[in-house]
């Protein structure tokens, strides 16, 4: 009784398209973390604000890479900006993306101006590059710093809606496809936005802990608490929306539910029910709940938050998988499912995916060598001395 249209065994959107919304979500989420400090002046986020902004920029550079790898004709990728067809939800991609890229680059320029000035005062090629990036203007004073703060606030203010748009529209791209009942829902935009926030906060939290642990720095507890609370809140909304979507189709018992129920039961049981809602949502929820409600020893509290962040990061990845791949497993004939297993070494396979996902972190490491991603006192105060 399993029937798919004969073209459907070729699953067009692969691991790369799973990776793309994941990375684009990291961009938007990380940007909001940075905006917490630069726009909303939440002092708790100060220790990771620069790190978050740098992460945004690096993820942003690599986010379109999976898309390009996936494109049948990557050389024609520019067509999307040369002849954008604005009836398409995808046509705005080039412009929104480049606009956001320009904006984040500007913010980074203002944020890291101080470091660049430091470098520019030295000698050698690095100093020359720094001077060029600074456009040869090396004046610095309280007044310029205050000006930078204000410009950052304005740019951040513009950036927040752009960040939401950047990722929400990825959700809209799926949600607006009426042919596919697994995707076609107006909630998709909102779900994507909130899952992006979750993944952004999770990746910053996770990475911050990781870097501190490797460098034996002291982690800022206020910052951790703030991160964990936001993470907790956003994950409740995100998972709540995901559940709401599922529940409403299930309860309405529409014609589509027949086949969607089969899709969940037969093809997505592990990744959707067990992982996305079970293990990777419920457990972090409980961990963060415990951390928020109980006064735990600092060490345990940090472990819980770190674990929760890691799991939520995975949860968002699994959610992207369930959306992108799940929707394609479902035949548009509503009479069956195709199957998809990513290859390891192929062009759009797992290996390339891992490489693409690892690259931003490597670049971030290089970035870290060039400018200060964390406050100076942070780096000067290793955990050993704290004891």
């Amino acid at each position: 009784m399993n029937f798919v249209f004969p073209n459907e065994p070729h699953v067009v959107w692969s691991v790369m398209i799973v990776l793309y919304p994941f990375m684009s979500g990291l961009v938007s989420g990380a940007f909001i973390v940075a905006a917490m400090y630069y726009v909303f002046r939440q002092e708790a986020f100060k220790p990771i604000a620069r790190f978050a902004l740098a992460s945004t920029l690096v993820f942003l550079v690599f986010a379109p890479l999976p898309l390009l790898v996936h494109l049948g004709n990557p050389a024609r990728g520019g067509n999307i900006m040369i002849t954008p067809n604005f009836t398409s939800a995808k046509a705005g991609f080039g412009f929104i993306f480049s606009g956001f890229m320009l904006l984040v680059s500007m913010m980074a320029w203002f944020v890291f101006r101080k470091d660049l000035l430091e470098r520019a005062r030295g000698k050698g090629p690095l100093a020359l590059i720094s001077r060029l990036i600074l456009l040869l203007d090396t004046r610095e004073s309280e007044a310029t710093r205050r000006a930078d703060d204000r410009v950052l606030r304005i740019l951040g203010g513009i950036g927040i809606p752009l960040a939401i748009l950047l990722h929400g529209y990825v959700g809209f791209m799926f949600g607006s496809l009426k042919a596919n009942p697994w995707w076609s829902t107006p909630l998709m935009f909102v779900i994507f936005v909130f899952s992006a926030l979750v993944s952004g906060f999770a990746v910053i939290t996770f990475h911050y802990f990781l870097v501190s642990w490797i460098n034996r720095w002291k982690v800022d507890s206020g910052c951790v608490q703030a991160l964990s609370r936001y993470l907790w809140g956003f994950m409740i909304v995100a998972v709540g929306l995901e559940l709401l979507e599922l529940m409403s189709i299930a309860y309405q018992q529409t014609a589509e539910w027949e086949v969607l129920r089969r899709l969940i039961e037969e093809r997505l049981w592990i990744s959707y029910v067990v992982l996305q809602f079970g293990l990777l949502a419920l457990v972090p929820f409980l961990l963060l709940l415990t951390n928020t409600l109980l006064e735990l020893p600092r060490r345990i509290s940090r472990l819980l938050v770190w674990l929760a962040a890691a799991m939520l990061l995975l949860q968002v990845l699994v959610m992207r998988w369930n959306v992108v791949i799940g929707g394609q497993l479902l035949s548009k004939s509503f009479r069956g499912f195709t199957s998809y297993m990513p290859g390891l070494w192929e062009k759009e396979g797992l290996f390339v995916g891992v490489i693409i996902f690892t690259l931003p972190f490597l670049i971030l490491y290089g970035f870290h060598k060039f400018v200060h991603l964390f406050p100076d006192d942070h780096q000067a105060r290793p955990r050993d001395r704290e004891a």
Partner: protein, 422 residues
């Protein structure tokens, strides 16, 4: 930039330049759009947006940088101006430069490359169509058109003809295997019931063929499938006389082109010579054969010739009526004509029509041949054929197999039954 406002000296040359450039960029797309109403340059939305946004940024930086500043100011933005101006230029540059890459015919007919539809037409067709085939294969074409496969295109079975047309050494495929026919004629539940389809085992058992692998074309000619190449017919259907081999049995290596001298309309006497000659001496000689032997069309492609032996059929002419003239056929009153009024007329009056109706009626055709001995070679029986019942003797004999023919119907046959000629 530094020179323009290092000590708050007011509007410098750069500020003015930026302001002017910004305003110019804001205006440019509108001017362009108006100047090129001929439609040659499409000023697209991104170009509008980019130029205006970039222009506004430039003009804004121009205005800001021209502000009078002093050392007491809380904030000093001067270091940001070059960067902001650069961003404005980048926006203008990118949105403007992308316009260069728009293909020239883009937007000619809609939001697509205008040259594309013409490109889609360039390719040469591969399936050439029946007309093209018939330009050379008119003979087969005419045979084919008349029979059940008349609406099946040549290329349905033979595949696309483009290579064959370019070079006749490229032979077309001839699906002569059993499978080739079964693609369409295998019995499938989903096939419309009216469509002729067989289950090979059943069909072969019915016609007495033991070799289940025997190709369909051993009996059916693919171009004239209703006609049997071997006389396997149980003689139910009178063949529609429109196929060469109805009259010219056997195979030939020559083309089946119809000679110019060939009669266009077939007459019964071509095959039923003795019967027609005999009829000429009977009372009904003024009638045409088809008066009584009516052609009944059963499908668009097939029919049979029946004779109507119902007394009511005879009475159409022979009923006594006051309005009939003296020269009319002799009339009777069916109520008083006979003791047993239900008896068929032909039971007593057959001699008024034909003589011995059990005698063989058909002989090989006696019509002019185009060239001496051209299509008269009779192919040997296929070796694969199962031993054939006596009724399936080689064709010339089968033309007149009186011994195997079912006995002529006795006069007691139910009146009105549609009997068929063999």
């Amino acid at each position: 930039m530094k020179t323009s406002s290092s000590t708050g000296s007011g509007r410098g040359i750069f500020s003015w330049l930026l302001l002017a450039a910004g305003v110019a960029f804001v205006i440019t797309p509108f001017v362009l759009a108006n100047a090129t109403t001929s439609g040659r340059v499409e000023v697209s939305l991104p170009m509008y947006a980019g130029m205006v946004l970039g222009g506004l940024i430039l003009a804004g930086v121009g205005l800001l940088s021209g502000r009078r500043t002093s050392e007491d100011d809380l904030r000093d933005y001067r270091h940001a101006y070059p960067m902001l101006a650069l961003v404005g230029l980048i926006i203008i540059g990118v949105t403007g430069a992308r316009q260069i890459f728009v293909p020239p015919t883009y937007g000619q007919y809609g939001h697509y490359r205008g040259a594309a539809p013409a490109e889609a037409r360039v390719r040469k067709p591969r399936h050439l169509g029946q007309q093209q085939c018939k330009e050379c294969h008119d003979d087969i074409g005419k045979l084919h058109d008349k029979d059940a496969h008349g609406r099946v295109a040549c290329e349905t079975c033979h595949g696309p003809g483009h290579k064959h047309k370019a070079d006749q050494n490229n032979k077309l495929t001839e699906p002569r295997s059993q499978e080739g026919c079964l693609v369409c004629h295998r019995r499938l539940l989903a096939r419309p019931p009216a469509f002729p389809q067989i289950r090979v085992a059943d069909h072969y058992r019915l016609v007495g063929v033991k070799n289940m692998k025997l190709a369909c074309v051993k009996c059916h000619s693919p171009h004239e499938p209703l006609y049997m190449d071997r006389d396997l017919r149980k003689a139910r259907l009178h063949p529609l006389v429109h196929r060469c081999r109805d009259c010219h049995p056997g195979r030939t290596n020559r083309g089946l082109q119809r000679p110019k001298t060939h009669p266009a309309i077939f007459e019964c006497s071509y095959c039923h010579k003795k019967r027609v000659a005999d009829f000429a001496s009977r009372k009904h000689k003024k009638l045409r054969c088809s008066t009584c032997h009516i052609f009944v069309k059963e499908t668009p492609f097939a029919g049979r010739i029946v004779r109507d032996t119902d007394r009511r059929f005879c009475l159409l002419c022979h009923r006594k009526a006051s309005f009939r003239s003296a020269s009319a056929a002799p009339g009777i009153d069916p109520k008083t004509h006979m003791d047993a009024p239900k008896t068929a007329c032909i039971e007593c009056h057959s001699d008024a029509i034909h003589g011995d109706i059990s005698a063989p009626t058909r002989e090989p055709a006696q019509i002019p041949r185009p060239a001496p001995g051209a299509p008269a070679t009779t192919a040997p029986r296929p070796a694969a054929m199962a031993p054939r019942p006596a009724a399936m003797a080689p064709r010339p004999a089968a033309m007149a197999p009186p011994a195997q023919r079912p006995a002529p119907r006795t006069p007691t046959a139910p009146a009105g039954s549609m009997e068929t000629h063999p």
